[in-house]
């Protein structure tokens, strides 16, 4: 795996080309993505935005190999996702991707520490203890490692999920509405951590959000409408994002 420090900002971590995703058949066919193409460079924080039903979450799921595409191509590094088997895809996700979901998705039966180490353990790899310590301290989880998810606040649970995603030093971290279930203080904390991961560790982050404030933490914003990328914004601010969104929503 390419180490984070070796990456250059120009290196393309993920590439989507003409991705089409449809659900259902005949009259019930839903066109979620209608030929989406995008590139994601190493050390870049990209937000994906769009109105409800625009296909932003579907695009993220396809990009992460969670949902198969109907046609088109998705590459993570030099690997073509659409040709991989289920097991190969799983191993790819385990080794080169990290995930943060809106619903935290922690295992309630494991402690915070066990949840953080879970992805590495599934791959049979020992965690880099200094990197583990760095993440845990950065995210302020040191005192909560022995607690189970039910004993943590929503913000703490999402921080555990971020730590889990970062521990394997993934090529790209996918976040699906990571602040959707959090209050504004916790949400701000989590977004701060993601930004910090990009700035300090050159982590690539792709995040779906509907919140202009969250999007303003990104380096660029891709706007989707009706299954297509319709706009892109570099160096976003809350107001700029808000304005674009208002325009999209008519």
């Amino acid at each position: 795996m390419t180490s984070l420090t070796e990456r250059t900002p120009q290196q393309r971590v993920a590439v989507a080309e003409d991705v089409v995703k449809t659900y259902g058949r005949g009259d019930n066919t839903v066109h979620a993505l209608r030929g989406v193409s995008a590139e994601f460079s190493a050390g870049q924080f990209t937000a994906i935005m769009g109105p409800s039903g625009s296909g932003k979450s579907t695009f993220l799921h396809c990009l992460a190999g969670l949902d198969p595409v109907t046609s088109g191509s998705i590459r993570i590094g030099d690997l073509e996702l659409t040709t991989l088997s289920r097991t190969e895809l799983t191993k790819l996700r385990r080794e080169r991707m990290g995930f943060v979901f809106q619903a935290f998705n922690l295992l309630p039966i494991l402690t915070a520490e066990e949840n953080i180490r879970l992805t590495g353990r599934l791959g049979g790899r020992r965690a880099d203890e200094s990197w583990f310590a760095t993440i845990v301290d950065t995210l302020g989880l040191r005192e909560r490692l022995r607690h189970r998810p039910a004993e943590l606040s929503g913000g703490q649970q999402q921080r555990v999920a971020v730590a889990r995603a970062l521990l394997t030093r993934p090529d790209v971290l996918f976040a699906d509405e990571p602040t959707g279930n959090l209050d504004s203080t916790s949400g701000t904390e989590v977004l701060g951590f993601l930004r910090d991961a990009v700035d300090s560790f050159q982590q690539t982050v792709v995040m779906v959000t509907h919140d202009p404030v969250a999007a303003s933490y990104a380096d660029r914003v891709l706007f989707l409408a009706d299954g297509r990328i319709v706009d892109e914004l570099s160096g976003p601010t809350r107001d700029l994002v808000h304005a674009r969104m208002r325009r999209l929503e008519g």
């Binding site: 996700r93 385990r94 080794e95 979901f101 998705n105 039966i109 494991l110 879970l118 992805t119």
Partner: protein, 862 residues
């Protein structure tokens, strides 16, 4: 993965409790069966201790049936005929007399491993005496006996105690003077022995002075046993005596016992198969439910990097944890199960309690291996399904099932359905290969039963396809009666067919098992009652409560005279029984090309003058004169015999020529199923034949009981009870079968309870959503109850269908008048009512719990 499996198991063990119990019971049954088989093996091989171990040659009077190693000699040998032969160093006379012995508590002592209890003479010749006195002394006076250790232990007897000995002619109170063993064993191959003074034994057997059933011979130094055998054969002649070396007799006994042990283990193994099948079904169903409950969690694991193999391993590890816990407990529970089996078999006349309990190091690993195998096989499909859960399911809110391709399900179900012909297929062959009778009916019943289990599996696979129409209909009724909650129930039922089907298939199994057993019991009882009233004219029957491998234990013949003295009794007629072998004409094969099997007939002896007053046997049955025999029409047809034809049978007293005087049919199969002769003929066939039953006209049960109080095991029964009991005694292993059905039903109920309670618990998230949008607890409970109604309807209909189909098939195949569909309608209604009650009770508690959880707390549930 082990950590997750361990924690998942620890977290959900409450939900898994019933599964654990079901697995535990299955494993206990495996463990118990293994132990029983080992003990039966020990009882059988332990019984190869032989009273002939000091003898070199055994000379038995008359001819000894080579087809029956437990057959008693049917002639006499005079001691003097053997004593003077060259090469003979010492001799001892022997008598073998079947008796009934009652212990200190008055209960009959059952000999181990299907053997007999025999009165024999103490061997006074030291070089031939195999009996080692463990306590007391040898019997010398007329009323003294020494007992083998098993008899003493089982009956709680010690030297100085009195033992009631039921002899063929009378019951005697004898004094126990010694306890003996043979080759350190408590029993010998032929069973339990009571050793009386030689003259006492000879006199009780009705032998003349100097005559014995057999003579044991010790060869002179330098004379080989086979040399002496050949010499004695030549001098005595093969017609008057059977001469064998003692080693030949021992080998024949051992091989016969081993074959019997194997047969019993095979039968037990088959019944265990049914229990293990139900255990597998239950564990598989519960794990299927667990996978549904954990879909999101497993999908999340898959999303963050768990490969399908790892997800499979997770489920298998959890099953391993379950299997290990269940096995450890099940292995220990196997001991009481084995004890229960031993008691049930002893009740059916096969007692192995004298055998050593097998060592823990042997049974525990075997049970654990069995348990782990059962759970791993059971979770095979669940693990496969878990591995197929897409990571996207972690991100979906809806809990409804994914639509699946019905074609695949139809194909799988059809293949399983077709595989049932592995069992149904051989039924016509069994019908053609064997003569009609209890054994053939049992074999066909077992085959059809196994076939029906496979059909049950197929229906479980088809289940989700049936849920839509049945659930749709029930839901429609619910919608009409219950408004919105009925509509919601209809939607949840039809959109989650697998969940509803899982609960219904557990119920189906329980209903099928219970109904099949009930239908057979009701049908048999009705027939017994009908047949008893048709055939038995006497009001009461006196018989023993104990059984032997051949049926109910015989009573002493003097009992009829005693009963006749009871006030009000007008007639007491004893029916004696013995077994004879058809010698001439030689028996025919059942079908051309089939091997010719020896034909044994259970002959009933009765007083021809009183018989028409106590029994009414349909057919052409004249009053039987001495030398006459009447045979059932089925035997006449099979052997192509005609009335008036002469036959020769070999009884306990040798070959006897008889004339067939008539034919008849005994619909009860218990009074004279094999053949009928007059008392005088019976004395020719077997002078020691015991009375199987005394049929009594007039008098009251209490008055009759008073007269038979001193006879070991004697009880007074009315018509139906006697016929049922006697029939059960000839139907081997009926108690064991009921025991297994009971245990299996318990297993199925455990499974059903778990599946239904899980199907309610797994929807707490769904209920939270409904609660959040305004559904009241009452409405939520209504949804659960309508769903339960679908489970009851589907499970009961399928279960009743399997039961009715199975019984109808058995009747069609065997033509047995005892197994037919004649149960009253209310029986089906009762089964359906019980199924509804159990289902509603099972779902009520989790429904209450699920609807009482606060909305926010429920929303947090995974």
């Amino acid at each position: 993965m082990w950590l997750i499996a361990r924690r998942s198991f620890a977290e959900s063990w409450g939900r898994l409790l019933a599964t654990l119990l079901a697995a535990l019971f299955s494993i206990a049954l495996i463990g118990g069966t293994v132990q029983f088989s080992l003990r039966a093996e020990d009882a059988v091989s332990g019984g190869d201790a032989s009273e002939y171990f000091r003898a070199d040659v055994v000379v038995q009077g008359g001819s000894v049936d080579p087809d029956d190693t437990r057959a008693l000699p049917n002639g006499e040998v005079r001691l003097q005929e053997v004593a003077g032969e060259p090469g003979v160093a010492a001799i001892a006379g022997d008598v073998v007399l079947p008796v009934i012995a009652a212990g200190a508590d008055g209960d009959t002592i059952v000999a181990p491993a299907g053997a007999r209890t025999l009165l024999r003479p103490w061997v006074t010749e030291p070089t031939l005496n195999p009996y080692r006195l463990e306590a007391g002394r040898a019997p010398t006076a007329d009323n003294e006996v020494a007992l083998m250790r098993h008899l003493a232990d089982a009956g709680g007897l010690k030297p100085g105690d009195t033992i009631a000995v039921g002899l063929p002619r009378q019951t005697r109170q004898m004094t126990v003077v010694g306890i003996v063993t043979v080759q350190d064993s408590s029993v010998v191959a032929v069973g339990d022995l009571l050793l009386a003074a030689p003259e006492t034994a000879r006199r009780e057997a009705g032998l003349a002075d100097g005559a014995w059933h057999s003579v044991w011979v010790k060869a002179a130094p330098g004379v080989a046993a086979d040399q002496l055998r050949d010499r004695l054969r030549r001098s005595l002649g093969e017609r008057t005596a059977t001469v064998r070396t003692a080693e030949e007799v021992r080998e024949a006994q051992a091989s016969s016992l081993a074959a019997q042990g194997l047969e019993i283990s095979g039968g037990i193994g088959m019944l265990t198969g049914v229990s293990v099948f139900v255990g597998l079904f239950v564990v598989a169903n519960t794990f299927g439910g667990l996978i549904r409950q954990r879909t999101r969690r497993l999908a999340m694991l898959s999303a963050i990097g768990a490969t399908p193999e790892q997800v499979k391993a997770l489920i298998r590890l959890e099953a391993l944890a379950l299997g290990l816990v269940a096995s450890a407990c099940g292995a220990l529970l196997g001991y009481p199960v084995a004890d229960a089996l031993i008691r049930m078999f002893a009740h059916d006349g096969f007692d192995i309690s004298a055998a050593e309990a097998p060592a823990l190091w042997l049974t525990v690993p075997l049970s654990i291996i069995g348990g782990v195998l059962v759970t791993q096989i059971a979770v095979f499909r669940a693990a496969h399904r878990a591995a197929r859960i897409a990571p996207m399911q972690a991100l979906r809110e809806s809990s409804s099932e994914r639509r699946e391709r019905p074609g695949l399900r139809i194909l799988a179900g059809t293949l399983i359905l077709l595989s049932s012909f592995v069992y149904y297929g051989p039924v016509p062959a069994v019908l053609n290969d064997g003569p009609p009778g209890v054994q053939r009916t049992q074999a066909i019943t077992a085959l059809i039963g196994f076939g029906s289990m496979v059909v049950a599996c197929a229906l479980a696979v088809f289940g989700p396809l049936l849920v839509r129409p049945v659930g749709g209909l029930i839901g429609l009724i619910g919608q009409l009666l219950g408004g919105e909650s009925g509509r919601l129930a209809r939607a949840t039922i039809t959109r989650n067919p697998r969940r509803v089907s899982a609960a219904a298939s557990s119920l189906m199994l329980a209903v099928a098992l219970a109904t099949t057993a009930l239908l057979i019991v009701v049908s048999a009882n009705t027939r017994f009652e009908q047949a008893a009233n048709e055939v038995m004219l006497a009001q009461h029957a006196v018989s023993t409560s104990a059984r032997t491998p051949d049926g109910l234990r015989p009573l002493p013949r003097d009992i009829a005279a005693r009963i006749e003295q009871a006030p009000g009794v007008t007639r007491a007629s004893a029916l004696t029984t013995t077994t004879v072998k058809l010698i001439s004409p030689p028996p025919r094969a059942y079908q051309e090309g089939e091997p010719v099997l020896p034909l044994y007939l259970t002959v009933t002896g009765a007083d021809p003058a009183t018989l028409p007053q106590v029994l009414r046997l349909p057919g052409n049955l004249p009053a039987l004169a001495p030398g006459d025999i009447a045979l059932p029409s089925v035997t006449m047809r099979a052997q192509q015999l005609t009335v008036g034809q002469g036959i020769v049978v070999r009884g306990a007293n040798g070959d006897v020529p008889l004339t067939i005087a008539g034919t008849y049919h005994d619909p009860t199969h218990v009074f004279a199923d094999g053949a009928l002769v007059a008392d005088a003929t019976m004395r020719q066939l077997d002078s020691n034949a015991g009375a199987q039953v005394v049929l009594v006209s007039g008098g009251t049960a209490a008055a009759i009981m008073e007269k038979v109080a001193g006879v070991p095991g004697a009880t007074v029964l009315d018509r139906t009870s006697y016929v049922e009991k006697a029939a059960a005694a000839i139907t081997e292993g009926s108690t064991v079968m009921y025991g297994f059905v009971g245990m299996t039903l318990l297993l199925a109920l455990f499974g059903m309870t778990t599946t239904i309670s899980m199907s309610v618990s797994e929807r707490r998230r769904e209920f939270s959503l409904l609660g959040a949008v305004g559904a009241t607890a009452r409405q939520l409970r209504a949804i659960i109850h309508w769903e339960a109604a679908t489970v009851v309807t589907l499970g009961t209909l399928l279960g009743l269908g399997i039961a009715v189909g199975t019984v109808a098939l058995i009747h069609a195949a065997t033509g047995s008048s005892y197994i037919r569909l004649n149960a009253p309608w209310w029986l089906y209604a009762c089964v359906a009512g019980a199924a509804a009650l159990v289902t509603l009770t099972t779902s009520a508690l989790p429904a209450r719990r699920a609807t009482r959880v606060p909305i926010l707390a429920r929303a947090r549930v995974e």
